[in-house]
C-alpha cells in the first residue's frame, strides 16, 4: 500500500522536539504569571513593599533551573548533590545582593553596618527568606516540569518497540502529573486573587479593604496557557498512537492543530470576555428567594384547603365570622446591583436573567458532578461509606420501607374487601390492560387470558402475584366446577402461548375465545345463583 502524501519521518521528530521546547517555555510563563498573582496578593493583603520583586525572582529561578537542568541530569551521585547545593547557594547570594542594591545608598550603608554586627540576622531577613523560598519553589517546580517533559519525550520514543497500551498509559500518567501541578498552581492563584480582592476586617487585628480590582487577564492568561499545555500533550499522545499504529500522518496535521487551537482559544477568550459577569443577585440570595417562593406556594395551598373548614366551623360558631386569614403574597427578591450600575430594565428582567444564569450554573455543576462520579465509581463507594451519607442513605431506605409497608397494607385491605364480596370500582386505563386488541394469535391468547383473570377477580376469585397459572387453574376449577374442562384447556393453551415457542394459529385463538366466553357465562350464572340464594335467605 502506498499513500499519496506520506509524512517524512523527520516531521514527527521535529514536531516532537518543538513540543518539548514549547512546553518548557510554557511552564516558565505559567510560573511568572503565578508570581505576578502572588505579588498582587502579598502587596494587597500584607502590604509588602517588595512584592514587586516576586515575579522577577520566579523568572530568574525558573530560567536558571531550566538552563542547568540538562547539566544536572548528566552528572550522578554526590557530584550532582554538590552541584544542586551550589546552585541554591548562588541563587541565595545573588538574591541577597539584588535586594541590597535595590535600596538607596543610606539604607545599603546601614544594612552593611548591621551585617558586621549580626551577619546571620541581617542576611536572613524576613524579606529575603520569603523571596528565597518563592525562588526555591519556582526553581523546584521548573525542574519538576522539565523532568516530566523529558520523561514524556522518552516514553514517546518507546513507541518504536514497546506495547501501545503500556506507552499510552505511562504517557497519560505523566500528563496527569503535569496537569496536577498546573491545576494546583491555578487553584492557588485563584485563591490568592480572591483573597486579594476581598475585604477583611477583624477589629483591632486586621482591616483590609478591597481597593484593588483583580486583573481578569491574569487568571485568563494562566487558563489559556493551561489549555495550550493540554492541547500540546494531547497531540503528543495522539502522535504516539499514530506512530505505533503505523499510520501515515499528513504534514498538514500539526499545522492544522496549531492553527485551530489558536483560533479556538482566541474565539473562546473573546466570548468569555464578552459574557456578562455582573449580577444583581448573589447565588445564595437567589436560592433563598426560590425557597421563599416554594414556601409561599405551600402556604397558599394550605390556605385554600383551610377555607372550607373555616366556613363549616363558622356555621356552628355563635360569634360573628371573623375575617378570612390573609392570603400569602409573592414578593420579588431585593436586587442589589453592583456599585455604580443603575437598574435600567424592569426588575423582573434582571430576576429572569439571573434565574437563567444560575439555572445554567446549577446544570453545569450537576453535570460535572455526574460526570465525575460516573467515571470514579470507587470514589462513590467511599463516599457512601462516609457516616453522614450512609445515615442519609439509611434514612431514605427506611422511608422507602415505610411507604412499601403502607402500600402492602392498603393492598391487603383491598383484597379483604374484595374477598368479602364488595366490588370495588375498577380504574380503567391501567397500565398493560388498555392496549388495543392484539392481532397476533399468541398475543391474542395472552390478552384473553388476562381478561379472564380480571373477570374472575371481579367475581371474587383473585389471582395472587405468586400463583402460577396451574395453581390458579386449580383454584378457579374448584370455584367453578361446571367449567373445569374449559379452565384446564384454557390454562394449557395459555402456558403454551406464553412460555413455549410453539406457533399458535388463529384457530387456537378462536377456540380460546369461545372457551373464555363459556367460562365467563358460567361465572355469571354462579354469581346470579348466589345472589338469588342470598335473597332467598334474606
Amino acid at each position: 500500500v502506498t499513500a499519496s502524501s506520506p509524512a517524512p519521518l523527520s516531521t514527527i521528530d521535529q514536531s516532537r522536539n518543538l513540543t518539548r521546547i514549547v512546553l518548557r517555555l510554557l511552564s516558565i510563563a505559567m510560573l511568572v504569571i503565578f508570581g505576578i498573582g502572588l505579588s498582587i496578593f502579598f502587596g494587597q493583603v500584607f502590604q509588602l513593599s517588595f512584592a514587586g520583586f516576586i515575579p522577577w525572582v520566579i523568572l530568574v529561578a525558573s530560567i536558571e533551573a531550566l538552563v542547568t537542568y540538562a547539566r544536572g541530569q548528566q552528572i550522578e551521585g554526590r557530584e550532582r548533590q554538590l552541584f544542586r547545593l551550589s546552585e541554591v547557594v548562588t541563587l541565595a547570594f545573588i538574591l541577597r545582593v539584588v535586594l541590597l542594591l535595590a535600596q538607596n545608598f543610606t539604607s545599603i550603608q546601614a544594612e552593611l553596618a548591621a551585617m558586621q554586627t549580626g551577619f546571620l540576622g541581617t542576611f536572613f531577613s524576613g524579606k529575603f527568606i520569603l523571596l528565597f523560598l518563592l525562588g526555591l519553589f519556582s526553581w523546584w517546580t521548573t525542574a519538576y516540569y522539565a523532568d516530566l517533559y523529558d520523561q514524556f519525550h522518552e516514553r514517546e520514543l518507546d513507541v518504536l518497540w514497546d506495547a501501545l497500551g503500556l506507552v499510552h498509559n505511562t504517557l497519560k500518567q505523566i500528563r496527569n502529573r503535569m496537569l496536577g501541578v498546573s491545576v494546583s498552581l491555578l487553584s492557588v492563584l485563584v485563591m490568592c486573587m480572591a483573597l486579594a480582592s476581598a475585604t477583611f476586617s477583624i477589629p483591632g487585628v486586621l482591616d483590609i479593604k478591597a481597593i484593588l480590582k483583580t486583573p481578569t487577564w491574569l487568571v485568563t492568561v494562566f487558563g489559556v496557557l493551561l489549555l495550550v499545555q493540554l492541547s500540546l500533550t494531547q497531540f503528543a499522545l495522539l502522535r504516539s498512537r499514530w506512530e505505533i499504529d503505523r499510520s501515515k500522518v499528513s504534514p498538514g496535521v500539526p499545522r492544522q492543530w496549531l492553527l485551530s487551537g489558536l483560533i479556538l482559544l482566541g474565539v473562546i477568550c473573546v466570548v468569555a470576555a464578552l459574557l456578562p459577569t455582573e449580577y444583581s443577585m448573589s447565588f445564595f440570595e437567589m436560592v433563598v428567594w426560590l425557597a421563599g417562593i416554594i414556601a409561599q406556594i405551600a402556604q397558599l395551598i394550605i390556605s385554600i384547603l383551610y377555607l372550607p373548614l373555616f366556613f363549616i366551623f363558622s356555621l356552628f360558631s355563635k360569634q360573628p365570622p371573623q375575617d378570612l386569614p390573609p392570603m400569602p403574597g409573592l414578593e420579588p427578591p431585593k436586587l442589589t446591583p453592583p456599585a455604580g450600575v443603575p437598574l435600567v430594565l424592569p426588575p423582573f428582567l434582571y430576576i429572569l436573567r439571573d434565574l437563567l444564569f444560575f439555572g445554567g450554573l446549577i446544570f453545569i455543576i450537576g453535570f460535572g458532578i455526574y460526570q465525575y462520579f460516573s467515571s470514579n465509581s470507587e470514589l462513590l463507594k467511599r463516599l457512601r461509606a462516609f457516616p453522614f451519607f450512609s445515615w442519609i442513605a439509611r434514612l431514605f431506605h427506611e422511608l422507602a420501607g415505610l411507604f412499601r409497608a403502607a402500600n402492602q397494607s392498603i393492598q391487603l385491605q383491598i383484597k379483604r374487601l374484595q374477598a368479602s364480596g364488595i366490588h370495588l370500582p375498577r380504574i380503567k386505563g391501567g397500565p398493560g390492560r388498555t392496549s388495543p386488541t392484539p392481532t397476533d394469535p399468541r398475543e391474542k391468547i395472552i390478552h384473553l387470558y388476562t381478561i379472564l383473570v380480571d373477570y374472575a377477580g371481579q367475581h371474587g376469585i383473585q389471582r395472587n402475584h405468586s400463583e402460577t397459572p396451574t395453581q390458579y387453574e386449580q383454584k378457579l376449577s374448584a370455584r367453578v366446577p361446571a367449567a373445569q374442562t374449559e379452565v384446564t384447556d384454557l390454562t394449557n393453551v395459555f402456558i403454551q402461548a406464553r412460555y413455549s415457542p410453539r406457533i399458535m394459529d388463529e384457530f387456537s385463538a378462536k377456540r380460546f375465545s369461545d372457551e373464555i366466553g363459556a367460562v365467563k357465562k358460567t361465572l355469571d350464572d354462579l354469581e346470579e345463583k348466589n345472589n338469588n340464594q342470598q335473597k332467598a335467605n334474606e
Partner: protein, 397 residues
C-alpha cells in the same frame, strides 16, 4: 484527565457563584467553553465529513486497482485531524489495512490513494472503513464512525482457447465442423461434378449449363454448439491433495470454455454446486445458456464468486440429475470435476440417452491419467485431464 478538569470547573463555578468575582467567572467561561465547544466540534466534524471510496469493482487477475478515498469537509469549520483505517483482505495487499491521519480545512476536499493488486479470483470486501477524530484538549475520547464495506470482484483467469473440440449433434450452426454429415446449405464453398446419389436439389443448373456437365453445390459442414458447463465445487470429490488447486483449475477451465464459446457466438450456460460468497450459505444460481458478451460477464461474475466446500454442497451426480432435464436436445454437457468414478461415468452415459453430448474434464495436480481415460473409453464419454493451467494449452493449437 477530564475528571480533574471537571472537578476544577465545578469548584470554579461554585466559587464564582458565591463570590461574584469577575475573573473566576471568566476563567469558568473559558474552561466550560473549550470543553463544550471541543466536544461539539468533534461530533460535528465527523458528521460534516463526506466520505466515498472510488475503485474499479470488477477486475481480472493481475490488474492493479487504484483505490481513492475522497474526503469532503462540508462545514465551515476545519477538521483538525481525521484518522482513517480501511481494511482489506490479505489477498489484495501485503498490508491488511490502509491507515492515514489527515486534516481538512473548511469546505475542502482531499483524495487519499492506495493501490491493491488482484492476485486471485474471488469476491473481496474493501472495508469497513473506520473514521475517527477527537478534540484539541483530550476532554473526551475519540469519536468514531464507520463507512460500510464495498465489494471487489476479481474475475477468474481466462486462457484463450482456439479449438476445444467439444462434441455436438446440432447441425447447421455458426461453428465450422469437419464431418460432412452436418453440411450447412447456407454456407456454399464450391461446386463439383455430379455423382450418383447426389440429390437433385443440390444441382447447380446455371453452372451445369455453362460447363455442359452436371454440377452440384458443395456446402461447408457446420454445427451449432450449445454448451452447459457443470462445475463441481465439492472439494470432497477432488483428489485428496488437490482440494485447493483442483477446484481453482476447474474454475479457470470453465471460464476459458465460456469465453471461447461466447467468442465463437455459441450459447453457454453454467450450473455449479459451489457456494456463493456474496450470499452466505446459498448456492450460485444456475446461468441458462445464452450468447453475447454481457452474458459472458454474468458467468464470469458467478465464477468469481463461487466457493468450493466439502460440506453443504451436493455431489455432481445429483446436480446432473437435477438439471439435465432443463437442457435442450443436443446440448453439450461439460462436466468439470476432480475425479471420474464409475457412478459419474454411468450418469454421463445416461445423459447421452437423453440426447445430450457429455464431455468430462478432470482437474487437479494429482489426478491419475490411466483409469479415467480407460473409463472414458469404456463408457464412450470423451474425457480430458488437466493437471495445471498449462495443460489447457492443448486447446490453443
Amino acid at each position: 484527565m477530564s475528571e480533574i478538569m471537571v472537578l476544577l470547573l465545578v469548584v470554579l463555578i461554585a466559587v464564582a457563584a458565591v463570590t461574584r468575582e469577575t475573573f473566576v467567572l471568566v476563567l469558568g467561561y473559558l474552561l466550560v467553553g473549550t470543553y463544550l465547544f471541543g466536544r461539539w466540534w468533534s461530533h460535528h466534524s465527523l458528521k460534516s465529513v463526506k466520505i466515498s471510496r472510488v475503485f474499479t469493482d470488477h477486475v481480472f487477475p493481475g490488474e492493479t486497482i487504484p483505490v481513492e478515498i475522497e474526503l469532503a469537509n462540508r462545514s465551515w469549520l476545519p477538521v483538525i485531524w481525521l484518522g482513517i483505517r480501511d481494511l482489506h483482505p490479505v489477498y489484495l495487499s501485503e498490508i491488511r489495512s490502509f491507515k492515514q491521519v489527515t486534516s481538512l480545512s473548511s469546505r475542502r476536499k482531499q483524495v487519499l490513494n492506495y493501490h491493491l493488486k488482484a492476485t486471485r479470483r474471488g469476491l473481496y470486501s474493501l472495508g469497513p472503513m473506520t473514521i475517527e477524530t477527537g478534540d484539541l484538549f483530550g476532554w473526551i475520547d475519540q469519536v468514531q464512525s464507520e463507512f460500510p464495506a464495498e465489494y471487489l470482484t476479481v474475475y477468474p483467469k481466462i486462457i484463450p482457447l482456439r479449438n476445444p473440440n467439444l462434441p455436438s449433434t446440432s447441425p447447421m450452426g455458426s461453428l465450422r465442423y469437419r464431418q460432412p454429415m452436418f453440411e450447412d446449405p447456407s454456407r456454399p464453398v464450391g461446386k463439383r461434378d455430379y455423382q450418383p446419389g447426389d440429390p437433385l436439389k443440390r444441382v447447380d443448373w446455371k453452372s451445369s449449363a455453362s460447363s455442359a456437365r452436371l454440377q452440384v453445390k458443395v456446402f461447408e459442414p457446420s454445427i451449432d454448439l450449445e454448451v452447459s458447463l457443470f462445475l463441481n465445487m465439492n472439494s470432497a470429490e477432488y483428489h485428496g491433495k488437490s482440494r485447493f488447486d483442483g477446484p481453482e483449475l476447474a474454475v479457470v477451465t470453465a471460464a476459458s470454455l465460456a469465453s471461447w464459446a461466447v467468442g465463437n457466438r455459441q450459447s453457454v450456460g453454467l450450473v455449479t454446486n459451489g457456494l456463493d460468497q456474496l450470499k452466505v450459505g446459498e448456492d450460485i444460481q444456475p446461468v441458462q445458456p445464452h450468447k453475447g458478451q454481457a452474458h459472458l460477464m454474468r458467468m464470469l461474475e458467478a465464477l468469481a464468486r463461487v466457493k468450493s466446500s466439502a460440506e453443504g454442497t451436493q455431489p455432481i451426480i445429483e446436480m446432473i440429475r437435477r438439471y439435465r432435464h432443463t437442457l435442450g436436445w443436443g446440448t453439450t454437457l461439460v462436466a468439470i470435476t476432480g475425479s471420474a468414478d464409475e457412478d459419474l461415468m454411468r450418469e454421463l452415459l445416461l445423459t447421452r440417452k437423453f440426447g445430450l453430448n457429455p464431455f468430462l474434464i478432470v482437474c487437479g495436480w494429482y489426478v491419475e491419467v490411466n483409469i479415467p481415460v480407460q473409463r472414458g473409453k469404456a463408457y464412450g464419454v470423451p474425457i480430458r485431464i488437466f493437471h495445471s493451467e498449462d495443460d489447457l494449452k492443448v486447446w490453443q493449437l
